[in-house]
């Protein structure tokens, strides 16, 4: 029993409540909102330390024993995700201070961000499939509101798509849960794992499992379910887009990894090639589509898709090395991707547009911004010694070990195209001769914008240069996922 696991849900909820009661005052909202997320980050680190030293942590809510009540479980994978989520939340919330309009900050931004984090954290922690659905809904509901806040025509266009796709995904997810319950008679993930693994007819479940696959692929923006993402992400202010890019799709990926390592592992000859190909096509389509864009936000949005493909490829390999690579890549990607969006926000602040054809001369006049762009961009492109390189290497090694030549080859090639897109941004936006007046081109960026970007850039470097502890951690997390006996034992107790 450890009530600690509840804190990632309770803290944001309490924060939301206080914020609702104290709405209208910007500074109060900022302090409470950001303070709440900072507290969550602390809690997440604490949970991670506990899980890392004492093994998987479990709490049976309401003291009801495992398959009957709702269980919260923290294994290494989920505690890593918790930390990263809180980190991105914190960084984007700080970044939001000077960038989100006052009106939003006074009323809705901070409660919504906290509510979304509540959903995300709940999703990472819960050990119950229906409860997972509920957290998904908390998360997407908050994201709906965050996304539609602006109210421009473009935002409406994106919002409608985003809402429609996510609702379809939610309903398919819910249908899958109903079918799963009807067939296996339980909702607890560990119990499901046990029952499905022990069942002879488990392959019968595959057709309902397909609903989960489609639902999570929609959330994760996997091919061919990604269309909503480039339509909607670029329409929000960058603090929100960066927040989304770091978390929303990754929760879908998290669910895919959880479901397809814990219980849908029977028919491997079917599932894992499917995942592998979905991953492969996703990364290729995403990166090729990104290459043709000239809007910074859209280039970056399409790249999200491509990098989701990488992660799913790691899952599809279904080896310890592959899943470790997927986890590492996910952590790296959340940090680096959010950061590139934040830098795009800086560029917007300086140039007033995201259109690369109109942006120029940043390299000459804003070397710091250039540096801050280069680090996450090279990270994304997988250039050593930044974090993306280690992630790419892990996945390539895993792919070759599993003798998946084509997919791994595609993964390598995708790295090249990613580099191309990043260099394109650099060539056009940074290197091109400034079209305006150089002398007056010396705007100051607020410290609250620079600090989060710099911190995330530092993490991108550290993840690469001091990769060993992280890689080793991902390996252990992957072991826990591939062999879920410790997970099942922690949830259901020794007697199972």
């Amino acid at each position: 029993m450890s009530n600690l696991l509840l804190l990632p849900v309770i803290v944001p909820l309490a924060t939301v409540l206080i914020l609702l009661l104290a709405h209208g005052r910007k500074w109060l909202q900022q302090i409470i909102g950001i303070g709440g997320i900072a507290l969550q980050f602390t809690v997440a680190v604490w949970i991670f330390v506990v899980v890392n030293s004492q093994g998987i942590q479990v709490i049976q809510l309401g003291s009801w024993p495992a398959p009957f009540g709702i269980t919260f479980v923290a294994d290494l994978f989920s505690s890593i995700m918790l930390m990263v989520a809180a980190l991105i939340g914190l960084m984007t919330a700080i970044y939001a201070m000077p960038t989100i309009s006052d009106n939003r900050q006074r009323f809705s931004y901070y409660p919504l961000v906290n509510a979304m984090l509540m959903g995300v954290n709940g999703a990472f922690l819960t050990g119950d499939v229906f409860n997972l659905y509920v957290w998904f809904e908390v998360m997407i509901m908050a994201s709906f509101v965050l996304l539609t806040l602006g109210g421009s025509r473009q935002q409406m266009n994106g919002a409608i798509k985003y809402v429609a796709m996510n609702l379809v995904a939610s309903m398919l997810f819910l249908a899958g849960i109903g079918l799963l319950y009807g067939q296996a008679g339980t909702l607890n993930m560990a119990d499901l794992a046990l029952k499905i693994r022990a069942s002879d007819d488990a392959f019968l479940l595959n057709s309902s499992a397909m609903l989960f696959f489609v639902a999570f692929s929609l959330k994760a923006a996997l091919f061919p379910f990604f269309f909503w993402l480039p339509a909607s992400y670029p329409t929000a202010p960058m603090a929100i887009t960066a927040f989304f890019s770091g978390l929303l799709t990754k929760v879908g990926v998290y669910a895919l990894i959880r479901f397809f390592t814990l219980f849908f592992v029977q028919n491997q000859s079917f599932w894992h090639p499917l995942l592998l190909w979905a991953g492969g096509i996703t990364m290729l389509v995403g990166v090729l589509t990104a290459a043709s864009q000239y809007d910074m936000r859209r280039i970056l949005s399409f790249h999200i898709i491509s990098q989701i493909g990488y992660i799913i490829m790691g899952l599809g390999l279904f080896t310890v090395a592959g899943i470790a690579g997927a986890i590492y890549y996910m952590v790296h990607n959340i940090v680096a991707k959010a950061n590139t969006f934040l830098v795009a926000g800086m560029v917007y602040k300086l140039r007033g547009t995201y259109d690369l054809k109109a942006i120029s001369g940043l390299y000459k006049n804003y070397p710091l911004v250039a540096l801050l762009f280069v680090i996450p961009a090279m990270g994304l492109a997988g250039v050593p010694p930044f974090s993306g390189f280690v992630g790419k290497l892990m996945l390539v090694v895993a792919g070759f070990e599993a003798e998946k030549w084509v997919i791994t080859g595609v993964a390598l090639l995708v790295g090249l195209f990613t580099l191309f897109s990043m260099v394109k941004i650099w060539n056009e936006g940074f290197w091109k001769k400034h079209t305006g007046n150089d002398a007056s081109d010396n705007k100051k960026l607020p410290v609250a914008m620079l600090v989060p970007v710099a911190i995330l850039a530092l993490i991108t470097i550290l993840l690469g240069v001091a990769a060993e502890p992280v890689v080793e951690l991902c390996m252990r997390a992957a072991h826990q996922l591939i062999d879920p006996s410790s997970y099942i034992e922690a949830v259901l107790g020794k007697q199972y």
Partner: protein
Amino acid sequence: MGLILSILTGVLYAAAIYLLLRRSIVKMILGIIFLGNATNVLVFVSGGLTKASPAFIAEGQQVAAEHIADPLPQALILTAIVISFGIIAFSLALMYRFYKITGTDDLDDVTEEDEV
């Protein structure tokens, strides 16, 4: 009964999908509502259907009688209905705002922003 309710599920889903594929935003939201209903029925059906007494423990008894309806799917659907209600209310407000801003209820009219 399973068969009839299954057919009902199928019809509801088909209706939902057909409506979702319309250009009018009103129809799209109708589709979302149908999708929610269809899913609730599906969960209800797959939870196992037996003609049984409601899931109550009779006065004076400690445990429920033998043949009660499975209460868990009911609770799940109840939760799902309430969540759907919230989301649909939001979608309706979104529909309103969409019309106010774009001046149209035709979703095909607002595609240009997707391209650059």
